[in-house]
């Protein structure tokens, strides 16, 4: 190697040696050209080129890619001799489920469409035996009120509100999942999921419909920074009132935050005195 810049392997998008000469350039000069060979015919020692796509999936029902990851074992850049830096993986969550959904799911989705005067659902996902209704945030209050009040829906309890942060999913970084329970209909459960972009983290509050969501929404605000419009008193609940930042977000580190107590400051663990 004469060219120093070659030492820094820049991860390439198409596998380890996408445009490489294959085994050409080794001692065997007479080795035939490998250009144009694909898949199993490629005499490359290792390949992570993805196989042919299996069955054609209706684009409407395609999995939802929420993140693309590069590298593995922390090997991403710098002097990567392992090849792991070139690995790529897309985080694809289950996409919309085609009808029939099975069980009581179809009926609930139909009744909900009737009650809200049209299909307000972005997407219906049935995965792991659970029904998830993806709703645009502006439709959330209408959908929740219908789910609670219609006798044939009657999800009378909102058990949990839980935030999830997908920093790579542009325009929908913040997810909030509401878990509803219908005791009237023998323990039916469903999940309503809404998203909001990081740049405009507003979601309408459902406290007017489900008073139980009060503290859960406060927790989600505290931990993720989702602002629930219309909440009676959206204040921090677990962290101190004057805390900066929202700890459960993915861009918030685990540890390394200086802690202040009554004027005294405790430095983060990595800046304390070391004993070695």
């Amino acid at each position: 190697m004469t060219d120093d810049s070659k030492d820094i392997a820049v991860p390439t998008p198409e596998g380890v040696h996408p445009q490489g000469p294959g085994l050409a350039g080794t001692a065997n000069k007479g080795f035939p050209s490998t250009q144009g060979l694909t898949g199993g015919n490629r005499p490359v020692e290792y390949s992570n080129v993805e196989g042919e796509p299996a069955a054609e999936v209706d684009p409407e029902n395609a999995p939802v890619v929420r993140e693309e990851r590069r590298g593995m074992f922390g090997v991403r850049e710098g002097q990567d001799t392992s090849g792991y830096g070139g690995l790529k993986r897309s985080i694809a969550f289950p996409g919309a489920t085609p009808r029939p959904y099975g069980g009581w799911y179809d009926e609930v989705v139909d009744r909900l469409a009737e009650a809200t005067g049209g299909d307000l659902l972005e997407r219906v996902v049935v995965h792991a035996d659970e029904l998830t209704l993806h709703v645009r945030r502006e439709d959330l209050p209408v959908v929740m009120r219908a789910l609670r009040d219609r006798p044939d829906l009657r999800f009378e309890m909102c058990m949990s509100v839980s935030g999830v942060h997908f920093p790579q999913q542009e325009g929908a970084e913040l997810h909030v999942a509401y878990h509803l329970l219908s005791i009237t209909h023998g323990g039916r459960r469903l999940r309503v999921e809404v998203t909001a972009p990081d740049s405009d983290p507003h979601i309408p509050s459902v406290v007017a419909t489900y008073p139980a969501a009060d503290w859960h929404e406060r927790e989600t605000w505290d931990m993720f920074g989702v602002i629930f419009d219309g909440h009676p008193s959206l204040t921090r609940i677990l962290m101190p009132d004057d805390w900066a930042g929202h700890p459960q977000r993915k861009d918030y580190p685990l540890g390394g935050i200086p802690v202040e107590y009554k004027g005294g400051t405790v430095p983060p663990p990595d800046q304390r005195r070391s004993y070695n």
């Binding site: 999995p63 929420r66 993140e67 993986r89 985080i91 694809a92 969550f93 289950p94 995965h127 792991a128 035996d129 659970e130 998830t132 009378e156 309890m157 909102c158 058990m159 949990s160 839980s162 935030g163 999830v164 942060h165 999942a177 878990h179 329970l181 005791i183 023998g186 323990g187 459960r189 999940r191 489900y210 008073p211 139980a212 969501a213 009060d214 503290w215 859960h216 927790e219 921090r236 609940i237 677990l238 962290m239 101190p240 700890p247 459960q248 685990l254």
Partner: protein
């Protein structure tokens, strides 16, 4: 700046501590209220905002109650939480799926088995292996959960009684709980924070003689429960303190999402073990206890009766466990840890056959063991919410997986967290002393509330 008072026994001012508070700031540490206030030149009938807690012996740990008083009547009550927030959910995102068990078991420290089971059931649901969990593993989970339910209820009654001044109730409660904890210790190795339930099954089978120990324990605990029953239920002082105190109607419970004994005290037989059975609860014969008074007394009666029902379930489970030996971990080698630990002659857990294999014959086994233990198994992208009936109500676990070896997000819907929202509805309009009874009837554990 607050005007502060200094001097006098029992009453201390706190200059500078609450610079932002308006009006008088006074620390009260016991004594007669009227007399204490009189000494400070304050009218005892004056409207007062009282901070009860976060350090107060009768608020079950670090619960802070902010009470607005008119004389001794509570006109407004709010609960302040967060003093025990330890970031368990955040920490779980930095550990493997299996290691997560050791974190979530520490949330509600009186019901460790329930968090473990809810978490493992949620993982198994995302993995799609719920049906593959061996029956024996599910039965052991039920056994451990019901043992824990009895011990949790005993603490609830014991500390609840102590807060009303009945220390004998407390000593009996802790004495009986100790019997159960020694059984749990015999099985898992630890009294609390067990990390015994694992994704795919349980850490190991019951040790030799465990079932005999349980059979020996049941009549003793049953006798202890009877003692509690006799001390509590017909006690006129206790009835006077708890009847029609902390009332919350069915409508209130539904609106506020209240579950557990509080909901059952309104007459609704809502129990997830019956409504949507998990871990094979449909196999066991037990009753859902309900009452219709919707007050603190009925919740107490429900807890006593529920302990008896739990002992009934335990008897059925140990009969079943004795009849049906079998695997306690899912067969899939990608999830089940390869070592089968057994206690050796030296008292240490070990797996000699497995060590012989990985050190002597199979390099691949060694690699597999190493990868599975250090890196962990992968869970495909997706999410699941699993709810189980903890002693305090619905314990939900929402896990989100991203295809990696660690939870992308693990959220616990702790029953106490939700149920504490009822403090305002239960306490406002009542007397100050009733606040303590009402909070005790919710049975909050701050480790679970704040996580």
């Amino acid at each position: 700046m607050a005007r502060t008072h200094t001097h006098t026994a029992g009453v201390h001012s706190t200059p500078g501590a609450d610079d932002l508070a308006e009006g008088h700031v006074v620390n009260v540490q016991g004594g007669d209220w009227d007399q204490e206030m009189g000494e400070l030149g304050m009218n005892p009938e004056e409207r007062i905002v009282l901070n009860m807690g976060p350090q107060h012996p009768s608020t079950h740990g670090v619960l802070r109650l902010i009470l607005e008083l008119d004389g001794e009547t509570v006109t407004e009550a709010r609960a302040g939480i967060g003093y025990l927030h330890t970031g368990i959910e955040k920490n779980m995102e930095f550990r493997t799926w299996t290691q997560g068990v050791t974190f979530c078991t520490r949330m509600d420290y009186l019901t460790p088995m329930f968090q473990e089971t809810a978490y493992c059931l949620a993982i198994e649901k995302v993995l799609g292996i719920t049906a593959d969990i061996p029956e024996r593993a599910s039965a052991i989970r039920v056994l451990m959960m019901e043992l824990t339910r009895v011990s949790s209820h005993l603490i609830c009654l014991g500390t609840g009684g102590m807060e009303m001044g009945a220390t004998t109730i407390m000593t009996i409660g802790f004495r009986e709980r100790e019997r159960i904890l020694s059984v749990i210790e015999n099985i898992t190795g630890l009294r609390m924070n067990n990390a015994y339930v694992r994704p795919g099954g349980v850490a190991q089978d019951l040790p030799h003689g465990a079932i005999d120990k349980i059979r020996e324990m049941i009549p003793q605990v049953r006798k202890g429960i009877l003692e509690l029953d006799k001390l509590l239920l017909e006690n006129p002082i206790l009835k006077g303190r708890t009847k029609n105190v902390g009332v919350l109607s069915l409508t209130g419970c539904t609106a506020l999402g209240i579950t557990g004994p509080v909901l059952r005290s309104t007459g609704l037989p809502h129990d997830l073990r019956k409504l949507s059975p998990y871990c094979g609860y449909e196999k066991y014969d037990f009753d859902v206890i309900t009452r219709t008074g919707a007050d603190a007394y009925d919740r107490l009666v429900i807890r006593i009766e529920e302990m008896r029902e739990s002992l009934k379930i335990i008897e059925q489970v140990i009969d079943e466990l004795q009849r049906n030996p079998g695997e306690t971990m899912v067969a899939d080698k990608r999830i089940a840890w390869p070592a089968k630990l057994a206690v050796g002659g030296d008292g240490q857990g070990n797996s000699l056959d497995h060590i012989r294999e990985i050190m002597g014959t199979s390099m691949e086994s060694l690699i597999h063991h190493f990868k599975l233990v250090t890196e962990g198994f992968r869970v495909p992208p997706g999410q699941a919410y699993v709810a189980i009936e903890s002693p305090k109500g619905e314990l939900g676990c929402h896990v989100v997986a991203d295809g990696g070896t660690r939870p992308y997000r693990a959220h616990f819907r702790d029953p106490s967290f939700n149920n504490l929202q009822a403090v305002a509805a239960m306490c406002e309009g009542g007397m100050l002393a009733d606040v303590i009874v009402a909070v005790a009837s919710i049975d909050p554990v701050m480790g679970g509330v704040d996580r």
